[in-house]
């Protein structure tokens, strides 16, 4: 008999009234800052410079007294005091895990350490998300993930062990091997980046495997890229796999996810507000922006003890809307459309703002497209050009004349009439990705 499970991982706090939630966050914030003040020389200096002490944090809005922490601060601290800097609160010898940021941005990666409690908490945050999307102990969960130094789905793996699911770790398998195992073992849940979920679906087609018919996948959990909340991408994944696609988002600096889509799918993921404070601020002024307006995510995490993360500037672009958008009963607010991109992703092309995520959302409306790439160049040292290279599915080449016209028009219509060059790439020409995709090439000389 199937137990009558609660729909919530932690009903007590996930459904807390907003004023109570704010009170809880305030208590946790003060304790966190006290911990950082006493145990992390980096944070002590940061707060002393800003003239703020833990006892000044009396109400929720006092968080604004605290200075921001940036990636540059973190990297600078680790460079100055290798390997881990003095922002860690305990000796490195007490850690049980070491991870790095993914390095897809081409920047120097951040090094992170975690203790036992941190690591257990990391898995627990994934539990909020997996449970909320309907994953239960009877599920068989396949992780299309390489299990390296990038933190990726590590925490999700342990979450599923905690839930009592059968966990399939695919490690260094090829894409073909992964697909075969998903089918053979009847995986009911698949976890991957959105890009790789699509790639597995495309590869299955080439292998003559119909995942909808031959597989048992009911849910695809995606993470790691903004595309997980693009409706056209979700639809493609759902059409390929025959299951619902749920988005989550996290970051190595946190070690886990801070938002997840519940099974009501209200158009964006809920914030896990009993474990995080997620502020949305104007990236230029640092002032809070109201519900419904885009701004930069600034995160405070209550869970990681080894490396306190307090008012960390993520550079992620989001648009927060009230929890009442969703009928699931959770009181954690929602990021409408998930992570919308990066503050520094925005490209200025002949006076028009272009975000890669917006381009992807248009390209993915065309189901004949297998892969794409955005290339920005500067012609004759003056004129910027933006080109979208498109690789069609091998049996859809004939559609190019019509598709190229429509795609060019749709891109222009969404960008104040900006002209996009649209080029057909040969089958197999464009790069494929397993983790985070890197589809934008800005070849303009640095100013």
């Amino acid at each position: 008999m199937t137990p009558n499970w609660s729909p919530y991982w932690n009903e007590k706090h996930e459904t807390l009234q907003k004023d109570q939630l704010r009170a809880l966050q305030t208590i946790k914030l003060r304790r966190l800052v006290e911990h950082a003040w006493h145990c992390s020389p980096f944070h002590r200096r940061l707060y002393e410079r800003a003239g703020v002490t833990p006892d000044q944090l009396r109400g929720f809005d006092d968080i604004r007294r605290l200075p921001f922490m940036t990636r540059e601060d973190w990297l600078g601290n680790q460079a100055e005091k290798p390997l881990f800097g003095d922002l860690i609160t305990r000796p490195a010898s007490e850690a049980i895990r070491y991870h790095l940021t993914s390095g897809t941005s081409g920047k120097q990666p951040l090094r992170v350490l975690d203790g036992r409690k941190d690591w257990s908490w990391i898995a627990d945050m994934w539990c909020y998300g997996f449970w909320g999307f309907g994953i239960r102990p009877a599920d068989t969960v396949f992780f299309a993930f390489s299990y390296g130094s990038f933190i990726g789905f590590w925490g999700a793996h342990y979450c599923c062990e905690k839930l009592g699911c059968l966990v399939l770790a695919s490690g260094n398998m090829t894409t073909e091997q992964r697909i075969k195992q998903i089918v053979e073992l009847g995986a009911t849940v698949v976890c991957a980046t959105p890009t790789y979920a699509l790639r597995m679906g495309q590869t299955a087609e080439k292998l003559g495997i119909d995942l909808r018919r031959d597989g048992k996948v009911q849910k695809v959990i995606v993470s790691g890229e903004p595309a997980g909340s693009i409706p056209a991408v979700k639809k493609m994944i759902e059409d390929m796999w025959g299951g619902k696609c749920g988005d989550t988002a996290g970051m190595t600096e946190i070690g886990t996810i801070m938002i997840f889509e519940c099974d009501h799918q209200p158009g964006g993921p809920h914030i896990i507000e009993d474990h995080f404070i997620e502020e949305v601020l104007d990236p230029e002024t640092g002032a809070p922006v109201p519900y419904g307006e885009r701004g930069e995510r600034v995160v405070t995490s209550f869970g990681r003890g080894f490396i306190p993360l307090i008012r960390y500037r993520t550079r992620d672009l989001v648009c927060k809307v009230p929890h009442s958008r969703c009928r699931c009963g959770r009181t954690g607010d929602i990021y409408d459309g998930g992570i919308l991109g990066r503050v520094d992703d925005m490209k200025l092309i002949r006076g028009t703002n272009v975000y890669p995520r917006a381009v992807e959302s248009i390209v993915r409306e065309f189901k004949e497209v297998e892969e794409f790439q955005i290339v920005i160049t500067r012609e004759a040292s003056v004129q910027d050009e933006i080109t979208v290279k498109v690789e069609l599915k091998p049996d859809q080449q004939h559609i190019w004349p019509q598709l190229s016209v429509r795609l060019g028009k749709d891109l222009a219509d969404a960008h104040e009439g900006l002209r996009f060059n649209v080029l057909l790439a040969a089958v197999g020409e464009l790069p494929r990705f397993e983790l985070k995709a890197k589809r934008l090439q800005d070849l303009r000389p640095a100013n």
Binding site: W9, R31, L32, K117, W121, D274
Partner: protein, 68 residues
């Protein structure tokens, strides 16, 4: 039980919450006993951390995550 029988928001603990917190406190105390054989001590620490997680989620204690 050493802590007051209220959660972080000042609400009285339920009977189950009291039991959970009590178990955590027992495990925490016992996991300090360095003389235990490794097979006992290390598994105790793991169990203690999982109980900490449950108590932390439910707001039963205000320990910073760093101390284990």
């Amino acid at each position: 039980m050493t802590e007051s029988a209220k959660d972080l928001l000042g609400k009285p603990l339920t009977a189950d919450e009291k039991e959970l917190l009590g178990l955590y406190q027992q495990l925490k105390a016992m996991s300090q006993k360095q003389q235990l054989p490794p097979c006992a001590l290390m598994n105790l620490k793991q169990a203690m951390v999982l109980l900490w997680n449950a108590c932390n989620d439910l707001g039963l204690l205000g320990e910073e995550p760093g101390c284990d």
